[in-house]
Symmetry: C2
Subunit: 351 residues, 2 copies
């Protein structure tokens, strides 16, 4: 029911998924009277789906707490997440209200053992290929151990999606060495270097412009700066696309040039196509939830579903559980006393 | 002496400035034996400059503390800043080591009354025109009152450069309403709204993608996320330029198209030309220092100098002093008690 366009875009997206991955079965949570007529027109989806009628749908404007209050137990969003918790679905995909989805997912699925707070991971197209950036907005601020959790989550996702055995991981930082603050980032770096985990290669600090370069497979940061980085990059991409459009339409010569170079522009458009990397992945919960961009089209929603499919097929959750357990078993005993003090402080990370 | 190319790029840049602003006089701080031979070949600069021989130059690799230790009093960087302090120069421009420049500027010029910490302001090209973003990396973290200081500094700069009487100011934030943390941003928003200052229009929170849209004239944030936003946008711009180059060179048709649309591409290049907005401005000190990008060319360095020129000609420092004094005289007495507690805490903002 979610997203800017609702079932009219989501359901055709599922039809596309079935063309490419015919072994999926869908459970559709929403108002039967709205969902069924659309499904009826989609032959593949009709045979490969069940509809679960849900009276309530969380709106895009609701605050997370409101959504939890009036939508828990019965809204389409809640019941889709619950299906994952109860093993009736392998993954939940939604184009709905991000804050509400995260609040419900946390409440219903709960955090994994050893994880305090979940993260949202984004797939970021780079000059080299693709990288994973997390957290892009689930929580603000993170202590050293939380950043390490994010690193483990992101590395498991990279191994799952990119088929790399030991993905490189960088901590997002700024290039000034002697500034105070962000002690968490430095501490996380020290610990990751010392732990030398078998399932990731810690590559040190990276800066904002390293993300697009693809310097590392996984970029780790807390949710505020991660969200700012993502949105700021999106804004710049739109801005340049706008410049390009304006420049190519301004003169006759430019328009002629455009006709000749049409294939090249098509290629550029594909490169810059945000639909291909649609889908923010909620990591650190006992179940996978993928948040599709609300404004995407059927092709974009299909990409988010296929992202979820791939992660399930390749056992992302199991990888994460094993890696987290390994790290916390072998966690450097040398955690310096400052961290312990900090961990007992108001922020409340239990050691 | 600074930057990746040193006097070979900087001095020709000054020659360009003199073509456009013939009333400037330059004091050049550097090794005489290196600077003089280049100046000799630049007729305008030769008659409009003095060379002050400095034995020591701060290198691009030095840590700020090292630079302060070995370069204070005698390095070209220090003496250029000192000239501003002593009224021998109106503005200092450097393409050198950012951290060292900031450390020396703070040490030599000192913070203005009512300002705890300086900020670096960047000019950000937007779809609409240009905006100012600060802090882009002088300090990490900022309390509410520091964010308000940044807003006042940025608004004064916008009035000076953009000729707007009451520039709009937004606080950079992420779009999730009910997340804990970043209380400073919320508190700053409350105070700015309440203060309703005559020299700026507070426009609320903005997100990362609002920067490129030009939603507000001034975007205020603490230095960590500001730096990440800036670098992430720069990285994206380079990435898309790379895609475009690759696409346009790949086939004969594309290359023919490129020839026809050459003027359009030229226009695009101009739009994306980072040299035009070169120059990070150190604000909040008793004197203006402009940091040019180290890797820029003569045209880019000239832009940084002209930025400094314009701010001096239009009395930026005086505007800032008046505005700060006004705000602190009329500061809402209603600052809630939480803030007072926070202000007395470890972070040490005196009330």
């Amino acid at each position: 029911m979610g997203g800017d366009h609702g079932p009219g875009v989501i359901l055709p997206g599922l039809e596309k998924v079935l063309e490419r991955r015919p072994d999926v079965h869908f459970v559709l949570f929403g108002r039967d009277e709205i969902v069924r007529p659309v499904v009826e027109k989609l032959p593949r989806l009709k045979t490969a789906s069940d509809i679960v009628d849900c009276e309530i749908a969380v709106s895009m404007q609701e605050k997370p707490s409101q959504a939890l209050r009036h939508g828990r137990w019965k809204s389409s969003m809640w019941r889709a997440i619950q299906a994952v918790r109860d093993g009736e679905a392998d993954v939940c995909i939604s184009a709905g209200n991000t804050g509400a989805l995260m609040a419900m997912a946390k409440f219903c699925l709960k955090s994994m053992a050893n994880i305090d707070r979940p993260a949202i991971a984004a797939i970021w197209p780079t000059i080299r290929s693709e990288s994973i950036v997390l957290d892009v907005g689930a929580t603000i601020g993170a202590e050293a151990l939380q950043l390490i959790d994010f690193a483990i989550l992101g590395a498991a996702m990279a191994r799952t999606l990119f088929d790399i055995e030991r993905p490189t991981v960088g901590l997002l930082n700024i290039g000034v060495e002697e500034i105070k603050g962000q002690e968490e980032v430095k501490e996380a770096g020290r610990m990751l270097r010392e732990a030398d985990l078998k399932f990731m290669r810690y590559a040190g600090f990276v800066e904002g412009d390293d993300i697009g370069k693809g310097t590392v497979d996984v970029v780790v940061t807390e949710g505020f700066s991660g969200n700012i980085a993502l949105k700021s990059a999106e804004g710049t991409a739109r801005q340049i696309a706008e410049y390009l459009r304006a420049a190519m339409g301004r003169t006759l010569m430019a328009r002629i040039g455009y006709v000749f170079a049409r294939n090249a522009f098509q290629r550029l458009r594909e490169k810059m196509d945000v639909r291909k990397t649609n889908g923010g992945v909620f990591l650190g919960l006992n179940g996978i939830v993928v948040k599709s961009h609300g404004g995407t089209d059927d092709e974009g929603f299909a990409a988010a579903v296929e992202l979820g499919y791939d992660m399930v097929r390749r056992n992302l959750l199991e990888k994460i559980r094993t890696d987290l357990a390994f790290f916390h078993r072998h966690r450097p005993a040398s955690t310096p006393p400052e961290l312990t003090v900090q961990a007992n402080g108001a922020a409340g990370r239990a050691g």
